[in-house]
Symmetry: C3
Subunit: 457 residues, 3 copies
């Protein structure tokens, strides 16, 4: 049966209602952080601030812009690989991220930046909002092509909420370290999305099989996304780390891990093909697994060779996942994971959480220095009595909390999205921009679909 995919009233009303609500909530709750407030000049006059350079802006803004590019161009274009779903990949990612960052500013603000009745916004909030939305972009990858923009907005609404709760539990209650979000962003986002995809499983997806593959230029567009994610990942993992050595170290570790990941991805991609040919799907995705997997430990003394080992392993695991696990999950568990986020975010996220727990547990004043150890893990105040091994245990606990939150939350949200009123497309119309977009004339089909025969040597 064909569903009603006319969004004329559903989409506009959803967008406007959400945006109006955001305006009101911002009006009631959101103000500027002192570093972004005009009173800064008075503080300087009063000598509370020695120099403009002490402004958090100069420590974090360049990294923020890199992260921003990853969310909108990185994730957006990474998903344009489908031959005729490029408008939706970039456009819906744009829509959900633009809504998500606003809602995240509020949710995370209430938990982390609430002072005197107000959420005080600074550049760090902007980064964290982008991070939070990053987990939604991850989940989007699992349902790409099978959901309507209305469903995406609702999924974003719930996922950002749950993300913030989970993040609060991990960072504030369990006091774990997760600067790059292996647990909070990737593991949570991936299993949340996979759960939603599982609930929304479509029995007759083979009807749109033809559109589930790429075409030559759509694969090149996807590489734009891949490369911007890959290049800026060092900024992603270091953006909210402590000033100075932690930011510096996080960038170096991520750089190393990602480099190693590329070589093992290529190695496995070639090894699993009968003629040793490379597969664009692997290059587009598995090369990024190294960034996911050092998300937790990047700011720790993982050591450059430690980063290389993590990247080495993840390139292999991720590529094998695309080759063997994804088909298995689809055939046996009916988990239709469009972009293979299980291989790019779920598995490397878990590996990253474990690496982080072990690295933390192995920390010592010897390696970190006396003040260094205290500074790196905030072993002061209420954590004064903590030991590295305790930190390691709590890190591990954080992983399980994230998994539980993701699976339960994803299941509930999946059920909500299953209600057939959100304008979702019928199985035979999935992966098709023409359902939700006014298409350019004569391009309902991609040129590459036309009668061009393969000329394999």
């Amino acid at each position: 049966m064909a569903w009603n995919t006319d969004l004329r009233w559903r989409l506009p009303l959803t967008c406007l209602l959400l945006q109006v609500a955001l305006v009101v909530l911002f009006g009631v709750f959101v103000r500027y952080h002192p570093d972004a407030d005009a009173h800064w000049a008075d503080q300087k006059a009063a000598g509370n601030v020695s120099s403009d350079l002490d402004n958090e802006f100069y420590y974090r803004y360049p990294s923020f812009q890199d992260v921003h590019v990853m969310i909108f161009v990185g994730f957006g274009f990474l998903m344009t690989f489908l031959q005729r779903y490029g408008f939706s990949a970039v456009g819906f990612n744009f829509l959900l991220a633009a809504f998500g960052i606003q809602w995240a500013l509020l949710m995370q603000g209430w938990f982390h930046s609430f002072q005197g009745g107000y959420i005080l916004l600074g550049v760090e909030n902007l980064i964290n909002a982008d991070f939070c939305v990053g987990s939604v972009c991850v989940a989007f990858g699992a349902v790409l092509g099978k959901v309507s923009p209305v469903q995406l907005l609702i999924m974003t609404l719930f996922q950002v909420t749950l993300f913030s709760v989970n993040e609060f539990i991990l960072l504030n209650l369990l006091e774990v370290k997760d600067a790059g979000g292996s647990m909070t962003i990737h593991t949570f986002g991936a299993y949340f999305g996979l759960m939603v995809a599982w609930i929304l499983q479509r029995p007759n997806l083979q009807h749109s099989k033809g559109r589930q593959s790429s075409v030559y230029h759509s694969d090149l567009f996807a590489m734009i996304g891949t490369l911007f994610l890959w290049m800026y990942w060092p900024s992603f993992n270091s953006a909210v780390s402590n000033h100075g050595d932690a930011q510096h170290r996080a960038a170096i570790n991520t750089y190393c891990s990602l480099a190693a990941c590329v070589l093992t991805t290529v190695a496995v991609s070639s090894a699993v093909h009968k003629k040793g040919k490379l597969d664009m799907v692997h290059i587009q995705n598995a090369t990024l697994a190294g960034g996911v997997a050092v998300g937790t430990a990047a700011e720790m003394m993982l050591m450059p060779y430690g980063s290389l080992i993590v990247g080495f392993i993840c390139g292999i695991v991720s590529t094998l996942g695309f080759e063997y696990l994804t088909p298995f999950l689809e055939a046996r568990l009916r988990i239709q994971d469009t972009c293979g986020i299980h291989n790019l975010h779920a598995l490397p996220g878990i590996i990253g959480a474990i690496v982080g727990a072990v690295t933390a547990a192995c920390a010592s004043a010897d390696v970190y220095g006396k003040s260094g150890l205290v500074h790196a893990f905030d072993f002061e105040g209420d954590k004064q009595s903590w030991t590295p091994s305790m930190q390691g245990k709590f890190q591990a606990a954080g992983l399980f909390v994230s998994l539980a939150m993701a699976l339960v939350g994803g299941a509930v949200v999946g059920v909500i999205l299953k209600i057939p009123v959100w304008g979702q497309a019928a199985d035979e119309n999935c992966f098709d921009d023409a359902i939700y977009w006014e298409m350019p004339e004569n391009t309902a089909l991609h040129p590459e679909d036309s009668a061009l025969k393969t000329s394999e040597p």
Copy 2:
């Protein structure tokens, strides 16, 4: 009648003459700002400079690079949406911007950085030159596809000159604040370009109607431009703001405004389509209106919710403009606005100027702090006696000056460009790269033009 579009001598001579003139003028007038001069080391030795970090470079350079990307990739690719005008969109934008920034360094330098007979160049000059050229890129959008590169160079020559005069009147004589250039860049650039387009109106443009639409992949290329403009706009609006809180605040406000703008753009785009489908033209353009409209007020205490409201309104206004105003302007006023800059830059620019005037007029020591208010609006020296309401009035005056300069200037330049010696194409050859570019074999037409039938569900 077919015009002579052979540029073999016209284009080379124009480029070489202009570049030689620039070399000579730079030789006579341009030197380095102290922050970029090797004497810096002597100043440090003399204790005039405490640390290398005091160098303006570290406050502004990251923002400069973001702005640079907006001008060359942002505007360049935004205009590649036409099915067979991509070479010209990116290539001519590249050419006019490369010439424009050099000429702007001189024009703005004489007005703002002239000391002891020399223009002293620093990173802030580079940013301002990019800004100035931004207004030319805006105007280019109105005449895209209908002018030759020679005409563009001449338009750039005059527009940069007028821009600098107008900017001087606003910033130095009227002493208005316009960090993000709602007035100086967008309002001025848009009405200048529209005026030129009106003078150069082409009666038989329907002859090239077929090429005025997009194709699937050209719309994806355009999204590259859209997203880089959208992501880096916070840097654009904060790049030349005061150090510290002002830069910080400008980035936050722009981030908020742009996010809200995306949701209302999507809402209206869907609402105006009979089947509720989204239109790529709206997503590519109207989503940016929020950045234009906080250009003046971003560095002021607009408040995050204030930014959201501005973005909210502009997404609606801009999208409705594309849907109803552009056709009207073309049909009734014969203004053939290829990229719809009236909706993306003109209207939001005016809104931005008004928002800025009102925000300035409402400023108070309460909201800004005592020193904060003085610092934010330079209420010292010759402005010591100024009140916020005076500032507001002058802001408003700045808008009318910009409009007048743009309309008169655009009319004059339009007449100059009408002289049929600049190699412009005939109406039936507009929007066609083949006129000015050596085309790859077999691609005079886009593949998508070939016999692929639409398969709307």
Copy 3:
């Protein structure tokens, strides 16, 4: 005869062996620079570090990210202009760069950052590793389409090694200045690559002539690479310059040189075409020559007009090179230079070396200031007795050393790569992704190849 291009075991084994070796070497030799080490907190506690802002990270990281984009997106997409070699252009560049930066961290580390038995990694090492790989990306341009990924990895292994030796000779023994690498990166990389291409010359390349041209959209993809290289080049030339004025000045000079280069490139491109049409090959490449040619002198007091003159000349030289020299080299010397790196990197690199030598020789305390001159050229310690003219002579010597190293090294490596066991393709299969990549269905040929007739006006 058809070669065996099955890489199933060759590529995986090569990647894994190299990566395992890197892991071991990193484990033995690589640790963190004090600025990236957790002991930083102890140093602060001990008062050895006054503020986190003194961390090298904040001086260099934004420039590093720009350089990173140039290497992976810039070079990668610049080479996607070929109609059906886009996967290989982006993918192999990704692979060789990911391997190259790791090997470069070790090679350069042993020469420049080796302390107490360890290589101490900091952000500056990351930038230098990217620079080193940049020279490999340059060389890749000469052999693009004609070598296998295994050959590229082996070429990278040797070229990075030789690069580091040559760089050590220039910077440490001859003590020349070459911040932007006109000599070490561009001249060396280009002649190394041209030598390899000459040794690997293919007699029957005309068999794959059809695939050596571009198609409409592949030229647009290439412009993404061109523009990111062009925009971020100021960061490239300033990334490792001295803090403060030198970084600032290098960015300004590069900005000016590149702008002038665009106008003269356009002028010549139009002038050499019988109908005055522009050629995308020139716009994609020659516009960048200005950045190459100020690589050495950018941080010196070249003066803005000096930069314009350099850019002016290089735009002309480079474009003429594409038009007349490349065909000559191929016809007479059998140097098959796919991307024309001789015009973009070799000639401008030599010009840059000469400009640098002259600028250094003309330096004076008058222009630089007393401390400025000493600071700019390190005329202290063992160089205390040096004069600018001496510096100039050593700069010139550096050029010849680089040329010698490149030609000899390239010849040797070329011979090694000629051994027919690396999976290289037969002449008739060059420039074809299908040899090494699993292709999307129905896209072995590009759509644009299909029966679309030209409609030149």
